[in-house]
C-alpha cells in the first residue's frame, strides 16, 4: 500500500496511457503503414508498395480538384470569419440596449449540430429559395443554387459562416471589452479619429483572439466534412468535394483504403505546416502586443 502511494502518480496516468496508446497512437502508426500498401480495406492480404500511393496522389486530378476547393474554401472562411467577426463584435459592443438579447441570439447557431444545420439549409435552398425566387420573379433565384456548380461553393461557405461565426463573434466581443476605456479617451483627446483609434488602440488587444480564430477556422475549413455531406454530398459534379470527404469516399465507398490513408497523411502534413507557421507568427506578434 505504501509502495503504491509512492508511485501513485504513475498509476494515475495509466488509464489515459492505455486509451491513448490503443485508440490514438497505434492507429496513427497503422495509418501510415496502410498508406504504404495496396490494401483495399476488405481483402485478407495486401502487399507493401512503398510510396507508390503518394506518387499516384500527385497526378490525380480529382485530388488536385479537391485540394483546390478545400484551400479556396478554407481561405475565404478564415478571411470572412475574421472580418465579419470583428465587424459584428464592434456593432454589438456599440449597442447598449438589448445587447444581451442580441448576444444570445447570435450565439445560438453554435450549439446546433453541423449536420442538422447543413440539412436545414439544404432544404431551404431546394424548397424555400426557389419559392421565393418565383414570387419575386427572379429567374436566378428560382432554381436550387446548390445544384449549380458555380453557386454551390458560395452556398456552402455562407452556411459555414452562419454557424461558424457565432463563437468568433463572442471571442472578439470579449477582447473589445478588455480595451481600457481611458486609453480610448486619451486617444480621442489627442485628436485620433475613429479609424485611428481602432487601428492603434483596439487592434493590439484583438491580436491574441485573432490568432485563435484563424487557427480554429483554418482547422474547420481544411477538415470540412459534416457540412459538405449534409448540403451537397460533394456535388454538383464534385465541385464541393472537400479533402475530408474525399478521404471518406475513397476508403469506404470506393475501396481504396490505402490510397485514402496516403491522402490523410498529406492532410496531416498540411495541418502540421499551418500550425507551425501560425505558432511562429503569433509568437512574433505577441511581443508587439
Amino acid at each position: 500500500m505504501k509502495n503504491f502511494n509512492r508511485h501513485a502518480h504513475y498509476f494515475f496516468t495509466l488509464p489515459a496511457l492505455l486509451l491513448y496508446a490503443i485508440f490514438f497512437i497505434y492507429p496513427l502508426i497503422n495509418g501510415f503503414l496502410y498508406s504504404l500498401t495496396d490494401w483495399d480495406g476488405l481483402s485478407k492480404t495486401h502487399k507493401y508498395i512503398g510510396f507508390d500511393n503518394y506518387s499516384e496522389l500527385l497526378s490525380d486530378g480529382r485530388i488536385r480538384n479537391s485540394l483546390g476547393f478545400t484551400f479556396r474554401y478554407a481561405l475565404l472562411l478564415i478571411v470572412l470569419t475574421v472580418v465579419l467577426g470583428v465587424v459584428i463584435a464592434l456593432l454589438l459592443n456599440r449597442v447598449k440596449k438589448f445587447q444581451s438579447f442580441f448576444r444570445t441570439t447570435y450565439f445560438f447557431p453554435a450549439v446546433l449540430s453541423l449536420i442538422t444545420v447543413g440539412l436545414i439549409w439544404n432544404q431551404l435552398f431546394s424548397q424555400a429559395l426557389p419559392a421565393f425566387g418565383k414570387a419575386i420573379g427572379s429567374e436566378m433565384l428560382s432554381k436550387n443554387l446548390l445544384s449549380d456548380p458555380s453557386w454551390a461553393f458560395y452556398g456552402v461557405l455562407f452556411v459555414s459562416l452562419w454557424q461558424g461565426l457565432a463563437i468568433p463573434i463572442l471571442l472578439f466581443l470579449a477582447a473589445l471589452q478588455s480595451v481600457p476605456q481611458d486609453l480610448l479617451e486619451a486617444a480621442s483627446l489627442d485628436g485620433a479619429n475613429a479609424w485611428q483609434r481602432f487601428r492603434s488602440v483596439v487592434v493590439p488587444f484583438l491580436i491574441p483572439t485573432l490568432n485563435m480564430v484563424v487557427i480554429l477556422s483554418a482547422k474547420n475549413g481544411i477538415t470540412a466534412f459534416d457540412i459538405i455531406v449534409a448540403m451537397t454530398g460533394g456535388g454538383p459534379g464534385r465541385t464541393t468535394e472537400s479533402v475530408g470527404l474525399l478521404v471518406y469516399n475513397f476508403a469506404f465507398k470506393e475501396f481504396k483504403f490505402s490510397y485514402a490513408s496516403a491522402l490523410a497523411m498529406i492532410l496531416f502534413v498540411i495541418i502540421g505546416l499551418v500550425s507551425i507557421i501560425q505558432i511562429r507568427s503569433s509568437s512574433r506578434y505577441e511581443v508587439n502586443a
Binding site: A8, H9, F12, T13, P15, A16, L19, Y20, F23, F24, I25, Y26, P27, L28, N30, G31, Y34, L91, L92, V95, F102, R103, T104, T105, Y106, F107, A110, V111, S113, L114, T116, I120, N122, Q123, L124, S126, Q127, A131, F132, W162, I167, L170, A174, T209, M212, K219, T223, D226, A230, V243, Y248, A251, F257, A260, S261, A264, M265, L267, F268, G272
Partner: protein
C-alpha cells in the same frame, strides 16, 4: 456627438438584419414542420393555418426516435463521467512531475495529438474497432474519452500549474493523506471552474458529433444517435420535406431547451474553451 448617434442607429439596423439572417431559417423550419405538404406547396412562407401535428407523429412512430434520443443521452453522459474520471487525474499527475521523462514524454505526445486532423486516425481506428468487435456504443465511448484527452489534459495542466500551489498537497501529506485521497478531496474540487468548461465543451461536441457515430454505429440502427438519425432520415424521406422539417424541430428542441436554461454557462464554456486552447 451627432455622428456617434448616427453610428449607433446604423449599428442597430445592421444587427437587426443579422438577426433576420439567423432567425429566418429557424422560423421557416418551425412553420414548415406544422404544415401539410399541400399547404407548404401553396405557400412556403405563410404561417400554418392550423397546428398540424401529423408530421411529428409520423417521424416518431415510423422511427425509434426516443431510442435515438436515449442513445445520445447515454453516450454523452457516460463519456462525460469517464472524461471527468480520467482527464483531470492524468493532468494532475503530469503537472506535478514534468521533470520526469515519462510524464514529460506523455504530455508532449498528448499535445501533439491536438494538431492531428481526425481524418488521419479515422480509417485505421475504424478497422481497429471492427477487429475488436467494438462497433457499438461502448466502443464509441472509448473513442470519445480518448479524443477528449489531448485538449483536456492540456487545459487542466495549464490550470493546475497556474492556480494550485504545491504547498496545499504537502500539508495534506504531512497529515497522512495518500496521494489519491489528496487528489479526490483537495485538488479535484479546486478544479471546478475549469471542469465546468470541460463538461460543456465535450458535452456539445459529443452530442452534436456526426462523423464518429457514422463510422462506428451506422450499421446497427438500434445504436444510432440523433445526428446519425437525422442524416439517415434525410436519405429515406427526402421526398416529403414537411416530415424532414419536423425531424429537424425534434432534434433541435432538446439542445435549445438546454441552451435557454444554461445560456450564460454555455456561452462562457464554449468561448472559454476556445480561448484556453
Amino acid at each position: 456627438m451627432r455622428t456617434e448617434k448616427r453610428l449607433t442607429a446604423v449599428s442597430y439596423i445592421l444587427l437587426l438584419m443579422g438577426l433576420v439572417v439567423i432567425l429566418t431559417p429557424l422560423y421557416l423550419t418551425l412553420i414548415t414542420a406544422f404544415k401539410t405538404t399541400k399547404e407548404s406547396a401553396r405557400n412556403f412562407f405563410s404561417f400554418p393555418t392550423e397546428l398540424y401535428l401529423g408530421n411529428f407523429q409520423e417521424v416518431i412512430n415510423s422511427n425509434n426516435f426516443f431510442q435515438f434520443f436515449a442513445n445520445s443521452i447515454m453516450i454523452t453522459a457516460v463519456s462525460i463521467v469517464l472524461i471527468l474520471l480520467v482527464v483531470p487525474l492524468t493532468a494532475y499527475a503530469i503537472s506535478r512531475n514534468l521533470d520526469k521523462w515519462y510524464f514529460k514524454t506523455f504530455y508532449i505526445l498528448l499535445i501533439l495529438g491536438i494538431i492531428v486532423p481526425f481524418q488521419v486516425i479515422m480509417l485505421p481506428v475504424t478497422k481497429l474497432m471492427t477487429q475488436l468487435h467494438l462497433l457499438n456504443r461502448v466502443g464509441l465511448i472509448f473513442l470519445y474519452v480518448t479524443f477528449a484527452l489531448t485538449q483536456g489534459v492540456f487545459l487542466y495542466v495549464g490550470y493546475i500549474r497556474t492556480t494550485i500551489p504545491k504547498e496545499l498537497e504537502e500539508a495534506a501529506y504531512v497529515d497522512g493523506c495518500t496521494k489519491f485521497r489528496t487528489y479526490c478531496s483537495i485538488i479535484f474540487p479546486l478544479l471546478a471552474p475549469l471542469t465546468a468548461t470541460i463538461i460543456i465543451i465535450n458535452a456539445f461536441w459529443i452530442w452534436n458529433d456526426f462523423l464518429l457515430p457514422l463510422l462506428i454505429l451506422n450499421k446497427a440502427e438500434t445504436y444510432w444517435t440523433l445526428p446519425l438519425f437525422q442524416y439517415n432520415f434525410k436519405s429515406t424521406y427526402s421526398v416529403n420535406y414537411n416530415l424532414l422539417f419536423s425531424s429537424f424541430v425534434l432534434t433541435i428542441i432538446p439542445i435549445m431547451t438546454v441552451y435557454v436554461i444554461f445560456q450564460k454557462q454555455i456561452i462562457a464554456g464554449l468561448t472559454g474553451g476556445a480561448v484556453k486552447s
